[in-house]
């Protein structure tokens, strides 16, 4: 279980996240939806321990996150960002198995987990020996997903994972990602500005405006009963555009 307890975050005196209270249950897929600059990525980064709340605390499985606890928590995290964040000097397989090697897994354990993930993510085997700059954007995101999943995390943090892909590739990956979420059973915290993505994945959607949750609930509720003008405008702008 992931909890935000009155979490605020300010940068240089301007507050980006306002006193956030939010609980995400085990196995739940929660999507933070909102326009760029609304603070949704900041929320995600506080879970990864890349930045720390100004006030309040983030608690994961009963452990408040801090400099001392974050190391242990990160072993249970998977992290995927828009551009993948792959290591350019390592081949696909080296990227994916880096942490397993650090953790002292045997080659047999690594091989078996790798096969499992290749099948799950639909990543082409021949891509394993290529470097990230020799892969397509879609392949890079699948690889990044494999890397995030390798140590069987219980919480997946996804920051616009499909944001940089063109529509066709995106659709394919959306389908596969949905499947991956179902099979791993991990808790997912995903950030996106894309309505379709939110609708596709979310058990629950939180719409963020200027660092505050303005509406939360199942996707259809957001669509059918926008809580205020902002939500309705945000929803309509994308419905018309799509």
């Amino acid at each position: 279980m992931l909890e935000f307890r009155r979490v605020s975050k300010s940068f240089h005196g301007s507050t980006v996240v306002h006193s956030l209270d939010l609980t995400i249950d085990d196995g739940e897929i929660l999507v933070l939806l909102g326009p760029s600059g609304c603070g949704k990525t900041t929320i995600l980064r506080m879970v990864a321990g890349l930045i720390w709340p100004t006030t309040g605390e983030v608690v994961f499985d009963g452990t408040p996150l801090g400099e001392e606890t974050i190391g242990a928590v990160r072993r249970k995290l998977g992290y995927v960002i828009q551009e993948g964040g792959l290591f350019p000097h390592l081949t696909g397989v080296q990227n994916v198995t880096l942490m397993a090697r650090h953790e002292g897994w045997t080659p047999a354990q690594i091989k078996s987990r790798l096969d499992e993930l290749l099948e799950m993510t639909q990543f082409p085997t021949e891509g394993l020996d290529r470097y990230p700059n020799e892969l397509s954007g879609g392949q890079r995101q699948r690889l990044s997903l494999m890397r995030a999943l390798f140590l069987r995390p219980s919480l997946l943090l996804m920051d616009e994972p499909l944001g940089a892909l063109d529509p066709l590739i995106r659709a394919g990956l959306q389908r596969d990602l949905k499947e991956v979420f179902a099979r791993t059973g991990a808790t997912v915290l995903m950030v996106t500005h894309d309505l379709v993505e939110a609708g596709r994945f979310a058990d629950r959607v939180c719409v963020i405006q200027s660092g505050r949750i303005v509406q939360q609930g199942p996707f259809h509720e957001i669509m059918d009963e926008p809580a205020n003008d902002f939500v309705s405008e945000f929803v309509n702008s994308q419905v018309v555009a799509t």
Binding site: E83, G85, M99, N133, L157, D166
Partner: protein, 514 residues
């Protein structure tokens, strides 16, 4: 096992430091002699070396160490044991401002530095203001006081003379000279410019071979400004107890070299009939009546030796600079606020002129207990090290700084600690940029290392300096060509290394399509 890349990095650092700092076996030297950077001084230095050698003492001669301050300091600090000097220089320059009327007063002053002075060797090498005979005749100039009538004359003096109290400033005042077109020039180049008519007068020495060869006129010092410059040996007083046989040999040739002899020795060397060692050996042979051999080395062997010395300078400076420079670059990137100042400081180091850096470093190196001049001195190594830093520091900084934020953050969230992240992610990604910096530093270093010769540290600069002094183009090339080839070889090896170790993923490639 799981920390392998980190161990590899530590091993690499250790290897670089050990290979860079390991001392080479050195010939055991008992007595060191020095000389200043002009032919006569080098010939006399060679005489000292041969005298000591024939007394059965292992000797090294640090040729052309530099000007008076450098060589005299080397003597007082014990880095050399003896060198040829002139009484006028001792009075006017070393003890400037003290009243030293006679040889006894000079000896007493030197004694304070534990330095002794021999009796005169037999010749004076006075300052000589030199014009071409033709020009002097045209203008009707025979004495220094005649110069007052021709304010448009162009003078060129060597840099030491230009600044010294007993040089141009004093001369100008003494004779009330009006000339304004006065420039500084290297002694060896001045004669060429005088003969070419580009200047009207230069400061020479009364024993200069060029005076006869070039049909030049020495102007009479009619108001007696210049003191006498009797050639003498300066030596450390502890030689009396350490090597009395050397001291005996050294005083044995007091009074035996007259002006004509010295001038002809200078002449045979400058006309390139003989090298300094051979000229000195021939003179000593005539004196003692038995043959003295100057250890002859082939020019091929000489170049090889200088290449080895050169590589040694590069090795000792570049390899530690890679480790230290990378460490500073990493630190600057980690702590950007103080890092900014450190980066600026390293950049400033680069702007210190090389000669100035060498001279500034000498007392520091000596104070730390290292040899500051001569073969195996740390001064040149430290100076070269300083010059290597900037490209390595700034490229390490840029290389790491330029890594995409997402890449670093992914490594962090995956759970890599700072050390593993550095060894496995940051340094490998920054490697191509760092190698470019190391290449720049290395190529520069090979060039700068020629300057080591100025303080007698050897290397390919030595034939170059000697070539300039003797106006011997072949000798200059014998230093310059191998130095250029070395730089090229270093560049190619780094290129090859880069090809071997930089993974395909860090080279520019067209991305695959979906």
């Amino acid at each position: 096992m799981k920390q392998r890349p980190l161990f590899k990095l530590i091993a690499l650092v250790v290897v670089l430091l050990v290979v860079g700092l390991a001392p080479l076996p050195r010939r055991k030297v008992q007595v060191r002699v020095g000389s200043k950077a002009f032919t006569e001084s080098v010939i006399l230095g060679e005489m000292l070396r041969l005298l000591a050698r024939d007394a059965g003492i292992e000797t090294a001669h640090y040729r052309s160490l530099g000007g008076t301050p450098v060589v005299f300091r080397a003597l007082t600090t014990g880095e050399i044991d003896a060198y040829p000097e002139y009484t006028g220089t001792i009075v006017k320059e070393i003890f400037d401002g003290e009243d030293l009327p006679d040889a006894e007063a000079i000896r007493a002053a030197l004694k304070r530095h534990d330095v002794g002075m021999s009796k005169p060797l037999g010749f004076k090498n006075n300052y000589a203001m030199v014009m071409t005979s033709k020009r002097a005749k045209e203008l009707g100039i025979t004495r220094l006081s005649d110069l007052k009538r021709f304010p448009e004359l162009r003078f060129a003096f060597n840099h030491e003379f230009l600044d010294r109290g007993d040089g141009w400033p004093g001369l100008k005042k003494h004779y009330d000279l009006p000339q304004r077109d006065v420039s500084g020039i290297d002694h060896d180049l001045a004669y060429q410019r005088l003969l070419a008519g580009e200047i009207d007068m230069l400061d020479g020495y009364s024993t200069d071979a060029m005076i006869e060869r070039g049909n030049l006129r020495v102007l009479e010092d009619d108001l007696s400004f210049f003191p006498d410059y009797d050639a003498v040996w300066l030596y450390r007083l502890d030689l009396k107890s350490r090597y009395p046989e050397f001291l005996a040999a050294l005083t044995g040739i007091e009074g035996t070299i007259n002006e004509e002899t010295m001038r002809s020795l200078n002449e045979v060397v400058e006309s390139r009939d003989q090298n300094e060692a051979q000229a000195a050996a021939d003179f000593l042979g005539e004196q003692s009546g038995h043959k003295v051999a100057a250890a002859a080395t082939s020019s091929y062997g000489m170049i090889l030796r200088h290449v080895a010395e050169h590589l040694n300078l590069v090795r000792q400076s570049l390899l530690p600079a890679i480790v230290v420079g990378a460490a500073i670059g990493i630190a600057c990137q980690r702590w950007p606020r103080p890092g900014k100042f450190v980066l600026a400081g390293v950049g400033l180091l680069q702007t210190i002129p090389s000669l100035a850096l060498l001279v500034l470093l000498m007392p520091v190196v000596a104070a730390l207990g290292y040899r500051s001049v001569g073969e195996g001195s740390m001064t040149a190594v430290v100076a070269l090290f300083c010059y290597c830093l900037l490209p390595i520091v700034s490229n390490t900084f840029t290389g790491i700084h330029g890594i995409q934020r997402g890449t670093i953050e992914s490594a962090t969230v995956l759970g890599l600690g700072p050390a593993s992240r550095l060894a496995e992610i940051e340094l490998p990604i920054a490697l191509p940029t760092m190698l470019a910096g190391i290449r720049t530093a290395g190529v520069q270093n090979v060039g700068f290392a020629t300057l080591g010769a100025i303080i007698g540290a050897g290397g390919l600069g030595q034939p170059i300096l000697r070539g300039i002094r003797l106006d011997d183009f072949k000798l200059i090339l014998a230093g310059a060509i191998p130095a250029a080839l070395l730089a090229l070889a270093l560049q190619l090896s780094i290129d090859l290394f880069e090809r071997l170790v930089v993974p395909r993923g860090l080279k520019r490639q067209p991305a695959a399509r979906d």
